[in-house]
Symmetry: C2
Subunit: 501 residues, 2 copies
């Protein structure tokens, strides 16, 4: 055994332990912590982050990675050994580019700015956030400069979430989506889909029981998963065999159920990473877009699918007999697939969601490039809402202040949501080409074929390949919006056809 490689594993193992520990602190904070625990928790998280950052940027780690170059070359590209050295070096090179004081400034500002965002929303006053946003943009520009030279100043931000992705690749995809999706909104509107069956009184306990019933059918095993209550749903994994889903059930809607299906997609990805990768940086989903492709796949492609509901609908009726006993399956399914512009991104359907994202991507680029003065951001936001979605936000809390993402400095993250939609259908088409029509299986309550194909082609690899390499291997080509557009057109026909019939 190579002693340098063993030393690398030891260092990366400790780093993973700290990162997963930070995740435990975060999960507890969001789901369990009493309110007054917040101050001490902030200190605990800051200390763990500081120590992790020290280990992450230790010069000894850099030297070790250099020493391991011949070792890496002796091993196959996709071997555990070569992949671990390669990914660790890439993470290290990225980490040391950013000076410690800039990192500290960014993290301090993020927490102040987040509180300013909460205040701005309360006061419905963009002016409260403005100075923080100005400073955020300034710090993010300094961050970008750490990665010079670059083709586009947006590239280093995108690279945080989508390693290797370039802005120039995204632009034509988003242009194509705008061209295809904007007209769809009008066509859907004409169908006047009735979604009143999704509103009513749904007791939380029954929602939870039914959600677990679906998730367990899909592959959630209680020995490795939990589902807890939170304000904003998320998934976090403390190892491939400790997966925490969170959701928020509201008694007047089934949003909590749908968010369970979404978070399951994130969870099933982490759960099926090769267990040999545990305690290494290979042991997680390869990028935000790939992760989102899985949450979207299980929420939308599986979870809003008629065949899936042919299997589950009788059990849903049993869970809420007063509500669904007299609602035909097809009515429920159409309601689940209704398309209608909403002011808030998080309430959006499959068609309008990507348009919400494109608005934000375009505004982020304009802010970063200096073409858009931050003073004009609220108006620019509303103008794009009118242009792409045909609606005017009722006030700033439903307009420019609706997301936390700019106040918390996560510029560059938004596009990965829409790219997730694109990737999800690319993978779906390849899966069906390989294993045959999935609907027949879903109707019988069988979801293992899809999960196994995804595990074999995506999940198990963790971060072994770059997102681009993985997409090439699994979907046979680069990012391509056409499968997603075709999928929405098919859905348009199905739902409109059924609504008209």
């Amino acid at each position: 055994m190579n002693t340098g490689f063993e030393e690398l594993r030891r260092r990366l193992g400790e780093l993973q332990d700290l990162e997963k520990t930070a995740a435990v602190l975060g999960w507890d904070e969001e789901t369990k912590m009493p309110a007054l625990g917040a101050d001490a928790r902030a200190e605990q998280r800051a200390t763990i982050a500081r120590i992790a950052h020290e280990l992450h940027t230790a010069p000894e780690l850099g030297e070790l990675l250099e020493e391991l170059r011949p070792f890496e070359e002796e091993h196959e590209f996709e071997s555990f050994e070569a992949s671990l050295v390669r990914i660790a070096r890439s993470d290290y090179d990225k980490a040391i580019r950013v000076p410690a004081d800039l990192r500290a400034d960014l993290s301090r500002l993020a927490s102040h700015s987040y509180r300013a965002w909460l205040n701005a929303r309360e006061q419905k006053d963009y002016g409260v956030l403005f100075p923080f946003l100005e400073r955020a943009l300034e710090l993010r520009r300094r961050y970008v400069e750490c990665f010079a030279p670059y083709d586009d100043p947006y590239d280093p931000l995108l690279d945080i979430y989508e390693p290797g992705m370039k802005t120039v690749e995204i632009e034509p995809i988003f242009d194509r989506l705008k061209e295809a999706l904007v007209p769809m909104i009008g066509t859907f509107a004409e169908a006047r889909v009735d979604d009143s069956s999704l509103r009513g009184h749904f007791p939380r306990d029954a929602q939870r029981r039914f959600s677990l019933l679906v998730l367990e059918r899909w592959g959630m095993d209680r020995a490795a998963w939990r589902l807890d209550k939170t304000v904003h749903p998320f998934m976090t994994a403390f190892s491939p065999s400790d997966i925490r889903l969170t959701t928020n059930f509201h008694e007047d809607s089934l949003h909590g159920l749908l968010s369970c299906l979404h978070e399951f997609g994130h969870g099933v990805y982490e759960r099926n990473v090769d267990p040999r990768y545990t305690r290494t940086p290979l042991a997680e989903g390869v990028s935000s877009a790939f992760h989102e492709s899985q949450s979207r796949m299980w929420e939308n492609l599986v979870g809003r699918n008629l065949a899936t509901w042919r299997f589950f609908y009788p059990q849903l009726q049993e869970a809420f007999p007063d509500h669904f006993a007299s609602v035909p399956l097809e009515t429920f399914h159409r309601a689940l697939n209704k398309v209608e512009p909403t002011m808030r991104r998080v309430d959006a359907d499959e068609v309008t969601y990507s348009l919400h994202i494109i608005i934000r991507f375009e505004l982020e680029r304009a802010m970063l490039g200096g073409e858009l003065d931050l003073r004009d951001l609220p108006d620019a936001f509303d103008a794009k809402m009118r242009e792409y979605l045909g609606i005017q936000p009722s006030d700033v809390t439903n307009g420019v202040l609706q997301d936390a993402h700019w106040s918390d400095l996560t510029f560059g993250y938004f596009p990965t949501y829409a790219l997730g939609n694109v990737v999800s259908v690319q993978l779906w088409e390849r899966a069906e080409a390989a294993v045959g029509p999935l609907d027949d299986q879903f109707e019988r309550g069988e979801f293992t074929t899809l999960r196994d194909w995804l595990t074999e082609n995506i999940y198990r690899w963790g971060r072994t390949f770059s997102p681009q390499e993985l997409l090439q291997r699994a979907a046979g080509g680069p990012l391509d919006p056409e499968p997603y557009v075709r999928y929405l057109e098919r859905k348009l026909n199905d739902v409109l056809g059924a609504a008209v019939a």
Copy 2:
């Protein structure tokens, strides 16, 4: 501001963050973690412990503490400044006495040995644990040698949990307890107290609701406390304003309720430490015996008190109407105070509990001193059970294998349980002398006077004083078993009197 002192605060703050983080990992493991998360969690805990140990024994910390001697002397003994330097130095001196490799051996053995204990219990075979126990004793002897010279080899072990306490102080106290308690068992037995009212069917939800009703009356505020389910009840605090109680409600008994009252005592102590001490080693209970004195006080002196139940019993009857509607308060109260030897320590009442402890203390000393061959431990255990409690364990799982405490290497811990009983009544007598009879207040549902007295005299000080200093200040003297003996004699008369009447 003294820069050396600021540096000390920074170092101690980080250390506290790591220790509290380790506590979060432990709490999650016991209350929430899916079973398959165990391996990764063990690694996470080991890494945090290793880093904490490095910070704890850093030579720079030792130098800093030396530099701060004049600063310490400039400040009053009980000032925050002098206390922090003093306690940090005492912790540091203790930590560096033990070589890192011995600490690592101890912690590795503890986890292997704990698993061996579980196996030994399953196979009802002491032989499975024996080699681990032999090794544990050997390592503990090496640990003791790190603290030479000592008066008694048991002293350094006791000192882990009860700083400054000497074995020679405990012996006469335990002798006095044996002399007083052993005969009480027979007297109680003659009273033939009927405790059948404590058995029945008690739905978990109702137990939880009633337990919270009591705890909130006693001072549990939801903004800073939680109550969760676990296998073995415990309390852990992540800061003075983040207190986690755990319990285990069984449908056939009220043990879970009583364990809530017990853990509340631990929690109320941590909750009321001076908030200025947060993120310093002063911010916790001063010793195991003092901590146990508080869990015992709230469980027994308050929680098994007739006046307390005059207030709560109507609400207990409301919570379990089928069960308690026709049971008179006095019958319930007598049942709650029944004395009867049990095989298992954790099931013991107020009289026999201390005898269980004395058995273990005597055996630990004999093992450590070499007078007792480990091969003879099971027989020696049973012999003492017959001698002090008049019963013979049915098998090794109810005999020598009933506790995890030897397998997990916590020799020296047991005595603090019985000392907690002793201290609890010493404090109680002083509290009543200062604020008047507490029963009148309890009957009216008022518990703040007691809590405030304890906060003022014990809780708020954290680790400012040594246990001996604190007891002297609060109870006016050293450890004294007489108040505890008097209390049990009074209870004997009350319960027997009532039973006879």
